[in-house]
């Protein structure tokens, strides 16, 4: 892991000079800003039971769909298309260091963009007449959830990028995989077909992987190690597959 930080700092720098990062950042902050304003407007009209932070994080999956592909689609496919993967892998660097360095850079950027939304809440507390609008518990829970789930989502994006030399294909692939992991699994869980008694293990599994339930638990202040395990093992698996994917493509190139 000698070169991990070299690659990480290089990748962060490359992400910060790349236009797709800024597109992702602007899209993300605009969208989240609109969502946040919408929520506040609702609150000003009618009384609600939960704090704005809870509603805000319930929509966390909307930006994930475009932000993660935009941040990760380039990372490996671009290297392969340009051929710089060859110079990279013939220097004393292992494939694992390359993949992990790129993953860590994309993850840091993802988390820091989310951290920027903290500004919305800061503005709210600054201007709100009393602090009852801000419930620190769900807010903190929501951010922790975003940081933990981001591990898995960004790893999915990196994996998609390792599969194709075309950035657009990698991006769409990442979108499709994220969609099936977030919405697809939830939808399958609600199917009538699954409700049969014989399929109760499947139902249990789908329940376990339901990201919306995880979010709810985190917002309520429950940090369940089983859920942590789901994200950590999922990201480990996706990263192992990306490393294997890069190496397999070399063997068969």
């Amino acid at each position: 892991m000698k070169h991990f930080f070299t690659i990480l700092s290089h990748e962060l720098r490359m992400l910060l000079v790349s236009s797709s990062t800024y597109i992702a950042a602007v899209l993300f902050l605009t969208l989240m800003g609109f969502i946040f304003t919408g929520i506040l407007e609702n609150y000003s009209q009618t009384a609600e039971e939960v704090s704005p932070a809870v509603v805000f994080f319930q929509l966390f999956w909307v930006p994930v769909f475009f932000m993660v592909p935009l941040l990760t689609m380039k990372c490996i496919s671009e290297e392969r298309r340009l051929g710089t993967l060859e110079t990279l892998l013939t220097s004393p660097v292992s494939t694992a260091e390359v993949v992990l360095g790129k993953y860590a850079a994309a993850y840091l950027l993802y988390v820091s963009l989310w951290a920027a939304t903290g500004g919305f809440f800061y503005i709210l507390t600054y201007f709100a007449p009393n602090s009852s609008f801000i419930d620190v518990g769900p807010l903190l829970g929501g951010y922790i959830y975003v940081a933990v789930s981001g591990l898995f989502f960004v790893a999915i994006g990196v994996f998609a990028s390792s599969l194709s030399r075309n950035q657009a294909v990698a991006g769409i692939l990442a979108f499709a995989m994220l969609f099936s992991a977030i919405i697809g699994l939830k939808f399958v869980g609600t199917l009538e077909l699954i409700k049969a008694d014989s399929l109760s293990p499947v139902r249990g599994l789908l329940n376990y992987t339901n990201v919306f339930r995880h979010l709810q638990d985190f917002s309520n202040g429950i940090v369940d190690t089983r859920q942590l395990l789901y994200y950590v093992s999922g990201s480990a698996l996706a990263l192992i597959f990306s490393i294997l994917g890069v190496e397999a493509k070399l063997l068969h190139s």
Binding site: K2, V17, L82, G83, E86, T87, L88, S91, P92, L251
Partner: protein
């Protein structure tokens, strides 16, 4: 057979891609400090062999050793011994030259303290000082090529492998790159592939010609010339009776063959081209003809076979050889 002084040792290397044999039982040895030229038509397996040498691709069978370390068993050690510039010289477009070299230097485990002076040194060596703060994507091809070479020599590895370092350069830039490679002579072992044959001839100590995945010829350019083309070829401009001349020529060397004789020009001179297998005949010929009052000589010269002739002869011979069997060896198209 294992020679610890050899920089590169390849034995019976085979590489197949999905049933296609790209490299077929290639064996060669490169001594330390030698500059070796790798020649071959497109798809001959040059790039594949180079990639296997760097450990980027695994070979199907056979052994490759760099400075005594096996590439297959110890790829991590190999990567520290090799400076590699791949075909088409891929570079990131959105970095500055000095930034790129700094990043590469860190990856190649040069300590921070030494890296700065070393980058200056390499920029000087490759004549890149003027463009050190320019963005690589905006550089001309010649500069990009030199950035690739600068990267290959950056960590001062004992072995440098460059795949077509002079492709797409103008003659002036080729000269600079050639001098650059020549300046590495003795300090580093260099393996370069090229299509530009005079280039190889001028810079390389030894040439390997590869065709259809096999080594078809190896040796110094002079030795290859003798092996594949044998005879010396002379060009004589002379005035006089051609029949008398033929008698004189055969008396000098009975094995001499006149290839062509032109018609006499306005001043009655003919240009006669002939070949003789033995050593240099020029001096004997000159003294024989200048004493003879029947002839007037205007010019006598030996035309050198270029490496191009050797290359064509060697690849043609290997095609002739492989076309004969019923199942010819397929090449990477």
């Amino acid at each position: 057979m294992s020679d610890s002084s050899a920089a590169i040792e390849v034995r019976e290397l085979v590489k197949t891609y999905a049933g296609i044999t790209a490299v077929n039982k290639v064996s060669f040895t490169v001594a330390q400090g030698e500059i070796i030229g790798f020649l071959g038509p497109n798809g001959a397996g040059k790039s594949t062999t180079m990639r296997i040498l760097t450990g980027f691709l695994p070979g199907t069978s056979g052994t490759v050793e760099i400075c005594g370390h096996s590439v297959a068993a110890n790829p991590a050690a190999i990567k520290r011994l090799i400076g590699y510039m791949p075909e088409n010289n891929p570079l990131p477009d959105d970095m500055r030259v000095s930034e790129y070299l700094h990043y590469r230097g860190r990856l190649k485990e040069i300590s921070r303290k030494k890296l700065g002076p070393r980058i200056d040194e390499v920029l000087e060596l490759c004549d890149l000082k003027r463009v050190r703060h320019r963005i690589i994507g905006k550089l001309s091809k010649g500069f990009r090529q030199r950035v690739g070479i600068a990267d290959a020599v950056l960590a001062e590895p004992p072995v440098i492998i460059m795949d077509e370092p002079t492709i797409g350069l103008d003659p002036h830039q080729i000269l600079i790159v050639r001098d650059l490679i020549a300046s590495l002579r003795g300090r580093m072992t260099v393996l370069i592939s090229s299509h530009i044959l005079p280039e190889i001839e001028m810079t390389c100590d030894r040439v390997l010609i590869i065709n259809q995945g096999r080594v078809v010829a190896a040796g110094t350019p002079g030795a290859l010339r003798r092996e594949f083309l044998g005879a010396n070829r002379y060009e004589l401009e002379i005035a006089g009776n051609p029949n008398d001349l033929a008698a004189v020529l055969t008396s000098l060397d009975p094995a001499l063959v006149v290839e062509k004789a032109s018609d006499p020009d306005a001043d009655d001179f003919r240009t006669i081209v002939f070949t003789a297998p033995s050593g240099d005949l020029r001096e004997a010929l000159w003294s024989a003809l200048s004493k003879d009052s029947r002839f007037r000589v205007r010019g006598l010269g030996r035309t050198r076979h270029t490496l191009e002739d050797v290359f064509l002869a060697a690849t043609k011979r290997s095609w002739d050889a492989t076309d004969k069997p019923t199942a010819p060896v397929a090449t990477k198209s």
